[in-house]
Amino acid sequence: MKLNRTILALAISATILTACGTTDEEELGLTDGSQSNAAGINDASTSGFNNGSGFSGSEMGGGFGSAGGLGPEFSDPSNPLSKQTIYFMLDSSQVQQDFVPVIAAHSQYLLANPGQRIVLEGHGDERGSREYNIALGEQRAKSVASMMKVQGVSDSQLEIVSYGEEKPAAFGHDESSWELNRRVELVYQGN
C-alpha cells in the first residue's frame, strides 16, 4: 500500500498559570485575623508555536480495506491475505483458532518478501483503565508477532505499537463495537 506521508505538526500553546498580583484584597470588619493572599491568577494565552521539525507520519489503512500497492491477492476476499485484522476475546491476548490461517498466510508472504515490513497495531476495547489497555494491546500484537516469528518471519520485518483503546475501529459503546475494537491490525509499510 502506498505510504501517504503527511507532516503532522504538534501545536503547543503556552498557558500562564503563575500567580500575578492583579487582585487586591483587604479585610472588612473585625473578623478573621488571618488574611489570605487573594492574588488572582492571570491567564495569558501566549501564541502557540508549531514545532518546526514537524513529524512524518503515515496514513494507515489496515482493517478490511484493500491494501493498494500490494498484490491482487490482498483484495481477493477468498484469500486469507485479504484479512488484515485479528480479533481477540475480552481481556485476552490469545490468538483464536480462526485467525491462525490468516497469520500463517501473512507470515508466508513476509517470508517470500523479506524486504517487506509490517506494523502490528495492538488495540483494545474501551472498558477498564486506559494504560492497562495499552499494555493489553501490546500483548495482543506480541502474540501475533511471536506466531509470525515461529513461522520464520524476521524480527526486522516486524514492528509493534499499541494504541490501547485510543483508536477505536467502531465508536459504539456495546459489545458489537467492543468486539471490533479488540484487535491487531496488520499494516503493511512502504511499497
Binding site: I12, S13, I16, T22, L28, G29, R127, G128, Y132, Y163
Partner: protein, 428 residues
C-alpha cells in the same frame, strides 16, 4: 474552541435551573442531606455597564458543588440584601439557613471593587468579610477565590475552587481523522485552554507536584513517547521514547522523578526515571503486565496495576524497590489507582461483572467502597483537599467528567458538548 462555546450550564440538585452562561454543564445529580444550608444572595452592582460576571452565582454554584453546602434557590429568598444594614436575620432563620452570604460589586474606571460578608444567621453575627479589587478579566477567578475563603472558614478544609483541571478531548474531524487535545480549565470547566494538540492520541496527563508542569504521553510520531511540558512557557522535553510502551507517567511527591511504564525489555514493567540525571531504575520484573504506577504522598511506596495473578489487580511496593504485595482482592478488576492527598485513601477503577466503577480503599482497614454507578467510569483523581474525586464517565454515548464525594453521597457531572472528554486530573 468553537465546540466549547456550545457547552451549556444547567441544573442544580434535582431540577434544572439554566444559568446565564452558555459554555458548559454542571449537574449535581445527588446531594448530601447533612450539607449546611447557606444562602448566597445575588451580589448588588453599581456601575456604568452591567456586571460582566455574576459573582454571586459562581460562589453559589461552587459552594453547592462542594458537597458541604446546600444552597438556597434565589426565588425562595424573601429579600435580597447587599449591605449588612439591610439583613433581617429572622427571615433567613425562617428559611432554615445557617449562613448568609451577601456582597456588592462597584465598578470604578474598569476595575471592580468587590465586598462580601458571611453571617451566622442564628447568632446574627458576621463570620467574615472581605473587600477586594479585580479587573474584569479576573472576575471569575476572584469569584472562585471568594468561594475558597468562605469554604475554608466554614468547613476548616482548604477550598478547591480556584484550582485547575487538565483533561484530554478527542473530536472527529470527519474523514476518519481526529484531533486530540490536552486542555487546562478552571475546576468548573470554564476558560479551557489547549496546551497541546495532535492528530494522534494524547494520554495520561499528570500534574507535577508544584502545578507548573504536566507530563503526558503522545503518539504524535506514531509511537509512544512521554513529554514534560512547562505550562507557563509551552516548552517541553521528551523524557522517554524507548521501543514499545512509554506510558503512565506519575510524579514523585518531591517532583524529582517520574515513575513510568516501559516495555523495552519485553513486558511492561514499572521504572523510575530521575528527571535531572536521566537515570532509569527498574522496579518490577514480572512476566506479566505491570503498569499505572502511583506514588504514596510520602513518596515511600508505589501502587501499580498488575495482571500477574491472572486479572488486573493493585499491588504495592517500596518506591526504592523490594517486596510487592497484592492490595485488592474484591472484584474482577482493579486498576488505575490514585492516592488521596493524605495517603489514607486509594481511588481505583473497580470492575465487577462487566461494570467499571470508581471505588475507594481505606488504606488502614483495606475495605473497598464502590462510589459510582456507571458502567464505564475511569481515571479517578482526587481534589487537593481530598473531598472529591474527579473521574471520566460515559452514558448514552456521551463522555463526560464527573465528581463524587469520597463517601459517595454527592455526585455531579460536567458535560462537554460534542467532544469526547477523558482522563481528568485535578491540579495540586
Amino acid at each position: 474552541m468553537s465546540f466549547f462555546r456550545r457547552m451549556l450550564l444547567v441544573g442544580l440538585i434535582g431540577f434544572y435551573a439554566p444559568v446565564n452562561h452558555a459554555e458548559m454543564s454542571i449537574e449535581i445529580t445527588e446531594g448530601i442531606e447533612s450539607a449546611m444550608p447557606i444562602a448566597v444572595v445575588p451580589f448588588g452592582f453599581q456601575g456604568s455597564t452591567g456586571m460582566p460576571v455574576n459573582i454571586g452565582s459562581i460562589v453559589n454554584s461552587d459552594l453547592g458543588r462542594s458537597g458541604y453546602f446546600k444552597t438556597l434557590d434565589e426565588q425562595n429568598m424573601l429579600s435580597r440584601p447587599s449591605t449588612a444594614e439591610a439583613v433581617r436575620f429572622n427571615e433567613w432563620q425562617a428559611l432554615g439557613q445557617n449562613y448568609l452570604v451577601i456582597g456588592q460589586v462597584t465598578e470604578q474606571a474598569g476595575q471592580y471593587n468587590i465586598q462580601f460578608q458571611v453571617f451566622d444567621v442564628y447568632k446574627g453575627t458576621q463570620v467574615l468579610g472581605y473587600r477586594m479589587t479585580s479587573p474584569a478579566s479576573e472576575l471569575r477567578r476572584t469569584a472562585h477565590h471568594i468561594s475558597d475563603i468562605i469554604f475554608e472558614k466554614l468547613t476548616g478544609n482548604k477550598g478547591i475552587f480556584s484550582g485547575r483541571i487538565i483533561y484530554i478531548t478527542s473530536q472527529s474531524q470527519g474523514n476518519k481523522q481526529r484531533i486530540h487535545q490536552l486542555q487546562v480549565a478552571d475546576v468548573d470547566g470554564f476558560n479551557p485552554q489547549t496546551i497541546a494538540s495532535s492528530p494522534e492520541p494524547l494520554m495520561s496527563p499528570a500534574w507535577s507536584p508544584d502545578g507548573r508542569q504536566v507530563a503526558y504521553v503522545s503518539f504524535e510520531r506514531k509511537t509512544a513517547a512521554i513529554y514534560v511540558q512547562t505550562l507557563a512557557t509551552g516548552e517541553r522535553q521528551k523524557v522517554a521514547e524507548f521501543p514499545g510502551i512509554n506510558g503512565a507517567p506519575a510524579w514523585s511527591p518531591d517532583g524529582q522523578k517520574l515513575a513510568l511504564t516501559l516495555s523495552k525489555d519485553g513486558n511492561p514493567d514499572i521504572y523510575v526515571l530521575n528527571l535531572s540525571t536521566r537515570s532509569l531504575t527498574k522496579l518490577t520484573q514480572s512476566y506479566a503486565i505491570d503498569t499505572e504506577p502511583t506514588w504514596s504522598p510520602d513518596g515511600s511506596h508505589i501502587v501499580f496495576t498488575s495482571d500477574r495473578g491472572g486479572k488486573p489487580q493493585l499491588y504495592i511496593m517500596p518506591s526504592t524497590g523490594g517486596q510487592e504485595k497484592r492490595l485488592t482482592f474484591t472484584g474482577d478488576y482493579n486498576a488505575g489507582a490514585s492516592f488521596s492527598p493524605d495517603g489514607k485513601n486509594l481511588a481505583m477503577v473497580h470492575g465487577n461483572r462487566g461494570d467499571y466503577r470508581i471505588a475507594v480503599m481505606d488504606m488502614a482497614t483495606r475495605t473497598v467502597n464502590v462510589l459510582t454507578e456507571g458502567r464505564l467510569d475511569e481515571s479517578p483523581s482526587f481534589a487537593p483537599n481530598g473531598s472529591l474525586i474527579l473521574y471520566a464517565s460515559r452514558k448514552g454515548g456521551v463522555g463526560y467528567l464527573s465528581a463524587v464525594s469520597i463517601d459517595g453521597k454527592m455526585q455531579q457531572k460536567l458535560v462537554f458538548d460534542s467532544s469526547e472528554v477523558r482522563e481528568p486530573a485535578w491540579s495540586p
